[in-house]
């Protein structure tokens, strides 16, 4: 299948994971590795940028479910941003918006993190 790419950047104290291509059962381990690295380095505030993600399968969704608890327990979170409509529809049907925060733009998500820190 088509490629998948995951990379991490930093905006202040918040980590941004950029996803690119197709996230399915075969590429999900790459994303898991990225999350494991963040947890190992005690980074619990994560924004996942979906700007270039074309497709996500149930196994891909499972990755966020597997890590969100750890993040929240350590007063962090996983927030989603820049999602294309069809990808958002998948999240929406599953009811993710009830459980996770979605933002149109990455900076909004970052700001949200910073706000909660200040308050």
């Amino acid at each position: 299948m088509a490629d998948f790419n995951v990379s991490t950047r930093e905006v202040g104290s918040i980590k941004i994971i950029d996803l690119k291509g197709y996230l399915d059962a075969h590429t999900a381990p790459d994303l898991e590795r990225e999350f494991n690295k963040l947890i190992d380095s005690h980074n619990y505030k994560v924004v996942v940028n979906f700007d270039e993600l074309k497709y996500i399968s149930s196994a891909g969704l499972g990755v966020f479910m597997a890590y969100v608890e750890t993040m929240r327990e350590n007063s962090g979170d996983i927030k989603f941003s820049n999602m294309q409509n069809d990808v958002f529809n998948i999240f929406d049907l599953l009811g993710f918006p009830v459980l996770y925060e979605f933002f149109k733009d990455e900076t909004e998500a970052v700001n949200k993190f910073n706000q909660t820190e200040r308050s």
Binding site: M65, A66, G95, V98
Partner: protein
Amino acid sequence: MNLPFNDLISQRKLEFTIFSVVLILIFKIVFPLQTELIVIAINEIIVFSVIYFGFLTSSNYTQLKKTSPISLVVNAGILNAILFFLTAISSSLFDAIPKLSSSVNLIYTFFSIMITLIFIASIAYIFSVFRELYFLRVKTESQKLYDSMIIFFTLAFFSAMIPDTEENPNFIALTFFVVSIILISLNSFRVSWIAFLPKKQKLYILLISTVLSTLFSLNFALSFDESFLNQLLVNFSPGLHLLYRTIMIYGAIYCGIIFFTSLFHLPTAEAFDRKAEEASSLMDLSKLITQVFDFRELADTITSLTAKVCNSDSAWLVTMDKEQLKLSSVSNIGFVEANEITNIFASEGILSAEQFIVFNKKQVKIHIKNDIRTFDFSALAVSPLKVHNENKGFLFAARKENFGFDEDEKKSIEAFADYAAVALENAKLIEESIEKERLTSELNVAREIQYKILPNETPSCETLDVSAFFIPAYEVGGDYYDFFQLDNNKLGFVIADVSGKGISAAFIMAEVKGIFESLSKLIESPKELLIKANKILSGSLEKKSFVTAVYGVVDKNSGKLSFARAGHMPIYLCRGTKAQQIIPGGIGLGLNFDETFDETLKEETIYLENDDLIVLYTDGITEAKNVKFEEFGYERLEKILCSGNFRNIEDLKDKIINKISSFTDGNSQYDDITLVLLKWKSNNKPSGVN
């Protein structure tokens, strides 16, 4: 040489030998002194046949020792020494008998026969030894030269009976004898077998050949003496005496040449030994590669052979997996030490994936715990393991003393590295194929579970047409649908999609089936049922797994349909030519286990009208992809549903299948495809009237 009656002779060598010995015994007793030419001629023929058969018989034994030329030479040497001993003893004990004719009696005859038989046996044996040595490791055609030598031996043998006096010397025999010697000299250069002896044996043969050529020369010289023994031999058979002389000179020349050859081969013996060892170990290794699939075992062989063949003190093999160096095998060096040295090399960036590197004088300091150890290598070679231009690791060979590696040693280190690379690749491929096999069998198990879980038939009744189809993906996707006959003429139905794939998805599916099957009997409300299902699943689902589902109940009498959706795909209600998506709130099972799930979940109720169609499906349909990676999507599905271009739901089902398969057109199916169709046929009215 091909002689007549070869088969018969080769089968009955010993019998012929004994027969001819008996013959000569009788002949000698009858004619103790031979003066007439015809008697001598017969005598010579019999003696020749004794020698000939004796030679054939002893060839039997010498052939067995073909593989150890040294022992052949030693055997010849012992016989030779016996002959010398006999000659020496007899000349010191007896004088030549001046007048032979008067002193010949029965005792003399027996004595002469005994002595001569010893000579004949020795000559035959020595000659067969030479013959074996001659044909040892001979590659080129040399039979003719050898055959002509034998012919001249024979000619010399028979011409020896011509009387030889001072005034009338036997020139014929002399000529044949001289030609024989020339041919002997030519034939004696066949000593290539010496080159293949190990150094130790070369030294040994050097020593033996010195003694032997001296003995042969002495025997040859003594055969000209006017001694009792010579007289006895000549009297017995002049040809035998000449042949004895010939064999002795043959031995002297041959052993002389052996001496010089082994002497000249001595300086290169060590290199030759090493080459031979390298060749044989490479051969062993290539055998191992095809036979042993365990890479560790191979790695051990490779390192120990590298250390041995390249005269290095230690060798170790490092493999590279995902840019990570891993020490696989060590020979003559500690595991920790080798690991540390490798790490130091890696951190210094000297390990090159492209080049074979050799250091002369390299000092490495390693830290083990609080201890600093210094390794002073006089030579250290690192060869990358390359397969298809990809580096798989490194082979190290290190020497602590003496000099650096020479060209040959470097080459063999590289050769071993190549072998290691191939072995590594082999082991990897085998591992992959085993893994693939395991996956395939796992897939089969998963698929079997899935088929057993899905219902065999769809329940239809007067008021409700039900149709379902399911196409499994290569990797089981975890789709599930089912129907439950409930009390009060109600039908429960479920469609679910377990996240993930393969055997883990299949197991969750089995659990989900159990939950729905039992809960459908207990809880009537779809919403309550799903909430309960979520609670049950909370105890068993992995964090990253979830299940989307739609559960509904239809009253077959009233057409009242109530259902709830837990994160599943939208439900279609087709009424007339309109297909309407219904998406009641609800999150997937397993996503959340507290009140949020319960609060979000909404139950929908619809009163079905005649010809209403309810369509349930999994994302395998909407996400079916064509070669351009476009998705089948909702629109294409809706278009078929709204077309009204179908006679009944079976027909509709076939149309949807055809549409999907023509859309994907050969592109492989990534996920299970499930479709469930429910068509309401208005109360008591036969279908088709409206």
